[in-house]
């Protein structure tokens, strides 16, 4: 089969070029998201099909359609009177001379000349653009209808905060798991994962209910599982490394601010927290809860100018927190220190929430730990800048339900908003996972380096994900037509151009083997054993 599709007939840099299909090529064989190359006179253009339409040379054809049951007439008209039109968004140019071969593909600054020939991109072209798998690049999937590997430059990826989006059930979790494996192997960063649904540490389940291995099973020496719910972990037979307990005295007013919405606190109640903290010091939470309903209390509140109803509102909220089983008056160990110990040794930490999938617990713990870890990182980083000490290992913090932390109301106050904005200055970046990207603050969205998005069909979500991307309207049609499984659109910092991928397979013994082949010998042996067990 020849790969010639047609010729460029019109277009602009902003809107993309229109390609008239040859008569021998059927529009039905085309697909949005596929790659084409355009042979310009001096350079080659690499682009993506973003829309497909039908054209006629004479409008009368559409008014009085010819008898297409006659194969002769339809054959004559194909490609002449009636033809397919591809809308192609040129994205990169590949120069013909030696200098540009060394530089690699460059972003487009012009369009190909009239009647340039358009071909389907070959495997080689795609490889040239996305690069092959190597010690920096991690194979994440293949382009549609192609076997070439699309690889992400992971050390580059983790330099910025990134986002994974998609409706529920579109494969966000699988994609995240895969990306985490990639980071574990190929980037110099360590991960801290707030695992709300216990899917990343030991084992997860696929949509069909099949159990799939997660990080710790594949890379036992590189991953530690922390848990908030020891009992649940034990029941699931997860080997945990540490049980996280949080003491009352570790909760700071700043940790409460984020919970305002979930705990239904009023604005004055949040103000009151600060006053109580000033009054009672570190033990404020315990003391506030234990204030008796006496006259002295009334006096105290008056002194602090806290209204009675405000105080009741606050108490209800604090009681909710106290009921969380992992909150104890005195924590036996310091979880922040433990997490940092592991991270310093280059071991990735997955924090399982067990049964406490309640959003209050998730926000409280994620925020609390992250704030302290970030503070530690900042201190160390500043020290490293001042003295000649090694910088701390880059850290990637993974959070789910990100719109709860990063919505416009709280993004400016939470630590996650700060991390997303100040980016890699302190070697800490985020991997946000969310199904309602429209709920995330626009400023934070604009700071995300690379966005990976599975199918989204809400107009507002699509708009917010694609905000600020060149060729937005074209990508929009690609995004809303992704299949609901195993397909994702990647764009941003880590890829030279937006790309639709069919994600790499995850869940079969072969796939485990391919994942760990870049890892240690130990895990490779484990995978071999698994395959033997499976096939007897």
């Amino acid at each position: 089969m020849t790969d010639r599709l047609g010729i460029v007939v019109s277009g602009s840099l902003e809107k993309g070029v229109e390609v008239k299909l040859d008569g021998s090529v059927s529009v039905e064989d085309m697909a949005v998201g596929r790659y084409v190359t355009i042979e310009g006179q001096r350079q080659r253009f690499f682009g993506m099909i973003t829309d497909i339409s039908l054209g006629v040379s004479d409008p009368r054809l559409t008014l009085a359609p010819p008898d297409v049951s006659d194969p002769f007439i339809s054959e004559v008209l194909a490609g002449t009177g009636t033809f397919g039109v591809l809308h192609v968004l040129p994205m990169l140019t590949i120069g013909g001379d030696v200098a540009s071969l060394i530089e690699g593909p460059q972003p487009v600054k012009t369009v190909p000349s009239h009647f340039s020939v358009v071909n389907l991109a070959s495997q080689r072209d795609v490889e040239l653009v996305f690069g092959g798998e190597d010690e920096r690049r991690f194979y994440i999937g293949t382009p549609l209808d192609m076997e070439t590997k699309i690889c992400l430059d992971l050390p580059e990826l983790v330099k910025r905060s990134n986002g994974i989006f998609g409706k529920s059930g579109t494969g966000k979790t699988f994609l995240t798991r895969m990306l985490l494996i990639g980071m574990l192997q190929k980037s110099a960063a360590v991960n801290l994962i707030f695992d709300m649904h216990n899917e990343y540490g030991w084992a997860g389940t696929s949509e069909e209910g099949r159990s799939v291995k997660a990080l710790k099973q594949l890379f036992p020496s590189k991953v530690a599982v922390f848990t908030l719910d020891e009992e649940s972990s034990r029941r699931r037979r997860v080997s945990t490394d540490f049980v996280v307990k949080i003491g009352y005295d570790e909760i700071e007013p700043e940790d409460m601010v984020l919970l305002r919405q979930t705990l239904n606190l009023t604005e004055p109640a949040v103000e009151a927290i600060y006053q109580l903290r000033r009054r009672f010091g570190r033990g404020w939470l315990e003391q506030a809860l234990e204030l008796p309903d006496s006259e002295e209390t009334g006096e105290l509140l008056k002194e602090l100018s806290i209204h009675e109803s405000t105080f009741q509102n606050l108490r209800r909220g604090l009681a909710t927190i106290r009921r969380l089983p992992f909150i104890e008056p005195r924590a036996p160990d310091n979880p922040v220190k433990r997490i940092l110990d592991y991270l310093d040794r280059g071991i990735n930490v997955v924090l399982e929430f067990g049964r406490y999938t309640d959003i209050t617990a998730y926000i409280l713990v994620a925020n609390l730990l992250t704030r302290r870890i970030h503070a530690q990182y900042r201190d160390r980083m500043e020290k490293a800048m001042g003295e000649d000490v090694a910088k701390p290992t880059p850290l990637v913090i993974t959070i789910e339900e990100a719109h709860r932390f990063l919505n416009p109301e709280v993004a400016s106050q939470t630590i996650f908003g700060t991390i997303a904005r100040e980016m890699r200055k302190y070697n800490v970046t985020l991997l946000v996972i969310d199904q309602r990207p429209s709920g995330i603050d626009a400023e934070v969205m604009s700071q995300l380096g690379t966005k990976i998005t599975c199918l989204l069909d809400n107009e507002r979500d699509i708009d917010s994900v694609l905000a600020g991307v060149s060729g937005k309207s074209a990508l929009k049609s690609v995004l809303s037509r992704l299949e609901s499984k195993q397909q994702a659109l990647i764009f941003g910092h880590a890829v030279p151009m937006p790309v639709v991928i069919r994600t790499r397979e995850y869940g079969s013994p072969e796939s485990y083997r391919s994942f760990v082949s870049g890892g240690s010998a130990e895990s490779r042996e484990q995978a071999d054993k698994d395959i033997e067990e499976l096939w007897g």
Partner: protein
């Protein structure tokens, strides 16, 4: 190369764009749409038969009905043999190209045909060679003819397709060319395609 039996007539009227020839035998006309040629050394002119007439030798004298007492049509001619000499068949051909030396050109020759030039019907291999290019369709489509253009074009393509090994492929290719030439006149295109 050209044999006597391919000779169909003689030029009796010529202009830059077309020529009229008289057939040697009454009714022995080349079919509508067939490719004919005449020579004006060193140039060979190609024409497409677009019109033909049979009538009286003298313009003022019209034939009269004669068959009242005859049993068969043939009997009329047998009983009045002079008729064959008093009637004549003529055909008109549109000049669509010429050959000079070995080269074929699908556009008008520098000079019109010569009067009394012999007119030959082209052989299949010549038709094949000439129809390698569809440039002649442009002349046909853009000339005002006494016969409707759709009829002539359809007849030409039908005739030419017979000379090709794969008539269907030839017609499809020609149809595509026409679809481009007549891109704004779909009704005409439809009429031609319907006649193929």
């Amino acid at each position: 190369m050209t044999e006597l039996k391919d000779r169909v007539g003689e030029v009796i009227e010529a202009s830059t764009t077309d020529f009229v020839a008289q057939a040697y035998e009454l009714y022995q006309l080349p079919p509508l749409g067939s490719l004919v040629k005449t020579r004006d050394e060193p140039v060979e002119l190609y024409g497409i038969v677009y019109h033909a007439t049979t009538g009286s030798l003298e313009p003022g004298r019209r034939p009269i009905a004669r068959g009242r007492d005859e049993v068969a049509e043939e009997e009329i001619y047998r009983s009045s043999p002079q008729l064959l000499k008093l009637l004549k068949s003529e055909f008109s051909a549109l000049v669509v190209g010429h050959r000079e030396g070995d080269k074929l050109y699908h556009y008008l020759p520098p000079k019109p045909a010569r009067i009394h030039g012999f007119v030959y019907q082209c052989r299949p291999e010549e038709v094949r060679e000439f129809s390698q290019s569809f440039d002649f369709l442009n002349i046909l489509v853009n000339t005002r003819l006494p016969v409707s253009m759709e009829e002539v074009v359809a007849a030409v393509l039908r005739q030419m397709s017979q000379a090709h090994e794969d008539p269907h492929a030839f017609l499809v290719a020609a149809g595509k060319e026409l679809a481009i030439l007549l891109s704004g006149q779909f009704s005409q295109l439809k009429a031609i395609l319907g006649r193929l």
